[in-house]
Point group: C3
């Protein structure tokens, strides 16, 4: 697989400077690229690696005089890298057609060019869209819909009636549609509240490995278009996550909370139930969000407050040893003043 550098420049909307006959045969990090590969440079912390690189060409945001080979100049180097890497990337492994070692229930509708590996179980009444891939160990309960070109990696479980859109990726070991955690106390014991809703995942979503997305009590838990979750994320019943939001690993979002569009939730964050996170808000790692956050807010800490407030409080706590000294000094001076006044008064 290869692409002329002029074509690569076109692909990323960049300008090629020098060596227009260069043919790109791969893309790699500065310290790993070879003379037939292109690399990328945008972070000046890696200037040392640039000097030593053996890459044959470079993606840059401005001409780099220290590099002799051809360069593609582009405003967004990271995006250009992603695009060229996608050109070279090997697509996920596929199985040709539906394996006879898979089990497909009655009344299913399978699209064109689906790839169903051995050891897949598809319950009654499921729909699998054109070009979808189901890896070994995938289990679909009854009435599940999987969209076009969607990839479900090994050992993913999707329970009854859940709906997954087009061009979705679900990484291995993830559970979609498990019962929401709903119980009512009856004396000392807990009575289960039936969870009768579903999970709906819209197009272009990517869900990490070993996530849990619970079905709604009523209605749906809803992951909207373009959302990306990292590994080991917990999404409780009736949560709604707005378009293009990002949730980092080990975060947990409690029941009925609603995240707006383009929200960023850091790793290991916990969000209380019935909480609203406004569009574009960011929550720093390990924060505990007890109350709703307005659009555009940058919050952190437990309980989460505006990041600025938290930094101020942290700085004050760090200054407590000084405060202690100043208090002690003041107490001493006040005693001295009292003594002097007592002497004067005598």
């Amino acid at each position: 697989m290869e692409i002329p550098i002029t074509k690569a420049a076109e692909m990323v909307g960049g300008e090629c400077v020098g060596g227009e006959n260069f043919v790109v045969k791969g893309i790699n990090a500065l310290d790993q690229a070879g003379p037939s590969e292109i690399s990328f440079f945008s972070d000046h912390r890696y200037g040392d690696r640039l000097k030593k690189t053996k890459a044959g060409a470079l993606l840059v945001s401005g001409i780099n005089e220290e590099f002799n080979g051809p360069q593609i100049i582009t405003a967004n180097v990271a995006l250009a890298y992603a695009k060229i890497a996608a050109f070279f990337a090997v697509p996920p492994t596929r199985y040709p057609g539906v394996s006879s070692d898979a089990v497909i229930g009655g009344d299913c509708r399978l699209g064109e060019d689906v790839s169903v590996f051995p050891m897949v179980y598809v319950g009654k009444g499921c729909e699998i869209g054109d070009g979808a891939t189901l890896f070994p160990g995938v289990v679909l309960d009854q009435g599940v819909k999987v969209g076009k070109r969607t990839v479900l990696y090994p050992n993913v479980t999707v329970l009854r009636g859940c709906i997954i859109g087009n061009d979705v990726i679900v990484h291995a070991g993830t559970t979609i549609g498990s019962d929401g955690f709903g119980f009512v106390r009856d004396g000392a014991s807990s009575v289960k509240v039936p969870q009768t809703g579903i999970v709906q995942i819209d197009d272009h979503v990517e869900i990490g490995a070993n996530n849990c997305i619970d079905r709604a009590a009523f209605g749906k838990t809803w992951i909207k278009e373009g959302v990306k979750t990292d590994n080991l994320v917990q999404i409780a019943h009736n949560v709604v996550i707005g378009e293009h939001s990002i949730v980092v690993a080990l975060a947990g979002i409690s029941g009925s909370s609603r995240l707006g569009r383009g929200v960023m939730i850091g790793g290991q964050v916990g969000i209380n139930d019935h909480t609203e996170i406004g569009d574009g808000a960011m929550v720093g790692p390990q924060s505990g969000v007890a109350k709703s956050i307005p659009a555009g807010g940058i919050f952190s800490g437990t309980p989460a407050v505006s990041h600025r407030t938290r930094l101020r409080n942290a700085a004050l706590v760090a200054r407590l040893p000084q405060f202690k000294e100043r208090l002690r000094g003041l107490e001493k001076k006040v005693r001295e003043l009292e003594d002097r006044l007592d002497e004067n008064g005598e």
Copy 2:
């Protein structure tokens, strides 16, 4: 499926007021219920939804004058809702009998009316109780016991010799009986301590998705009757969790810790090893429990202290900017006093 409202009232031990010929055809949230469905109202924050609801009937704790349809009056609306929802809930999907695409080892005892899906693996010497359901991808190692009516959802693993009681639900992707995390340092490296015990899960327990419950080093890790765990919970070797306790998502309980009856552990809580949590204690979300907690204690923070103490400390930290101002003001005044005394002294 339908039930006369008078029967529904009986089922929940409530009193039906008005419209005694009404037939309930479903139950739903206030904003989703239709005219043949019953809904419920107990939280006055949702008064707006009540005004707009199209529900045909209502579960309430006292007559609601704004609602025209029949009402069932009951002390515990949430419990009544759970009971009526259970009446209407579709039970988990079942497979008729034991699939020929499942593998059942030698010396197994399968009860009446078990449901074993394709792609289930049952090792030698297992016992499966009457009415139990094993979804696809369930793996039972040798000598596992599964009780009556228990449901193991897809891709659940139960390792050697573990015992699961009656009416237990284990959600998808959960691992029961993995080795406890036990190592002894030998110079720079770690030597594995064999984990020879089991996990025992008693009746009416519900375990969330993608949990890990480790087998004991000796004896058993023990989840007692009626315990409910949320998703992605970690329970280490030799932990004991008392009856009807609740553990919320992403919490981790370290080795040999013992939780009493009716304990509530919040999401993302960490509990140190060899820690005792007394009956009825509550631990707030994201807390880190370093020391034992007495019965009935309400603790939070890292390290966890009584919730009252933590709130007081948090309030004092929030007042640090004022403290700083007061310190500065005092320093200024003391300097002025010194100046005045110096002048007087001259």
Copy 3:
């Protein structure tokens, strides 16, 4: 299974005192051991259990006068216990050979004495070393290498091209080689950055249940020799974990971070991306590591600071109520001094 106590003493490099004809038939905890079993005593908190034990023999670090039976004296009781327990431990269940209910792709190389259970899927071009065990539900994508005597427990997924060394244990439900969490913003949406590297796991590593170890963007995510991870651990793309390091449950290590040799990461710790943790450093549970930590450092808190600093800060926060009283007292005295000076001045 049994071993003469003199042989057991030899096995652990200890000295046997008394009862040299004793035959050890098992090992157990003080409160569970019977008269034909050996137990161990090193923690004086358990003196009570020692008095009541029915164990027939004892592993100790020095002769215990209160115990009548034979004793093995050894410097490291815990290590001796681990070794004797390993002698008695039942090894993991094995399947004789390769099950006809497993699916093995083309061009695979299977070693001698491999154990491949039913419902295992092995993709094209995989290599399985001598004596390896693949439990039901294990899925290997194309080109995966599994070393000698390595055990993959049920429902473990290993994706394309990943390499697992010899004598490795991977517990149930773990995902190895899922895509790293790499996206580039393009306006409001996220563009996937292809993850073209692999995961390499070296010899004698043990990975807990339901872990996620992501493949590298380029090159490899690398878990070096002897590392042990607990359950539900997240290891992001391009992370390197040094030899014999330990990572406790629910910890998350962000992209490109590097842990040295013999590092200890507590439960629920979060580590920022591109962070270096020096050899032998320890990070306390629930800490949030924002910056690199030097070799041998002991850090805790969020953001993590040296454990000593954090304890000092915590002590100062706990003393805030006193500070408040002292401030109030000072303010009162200064007012009194001002009044006296005002009077004097008149």
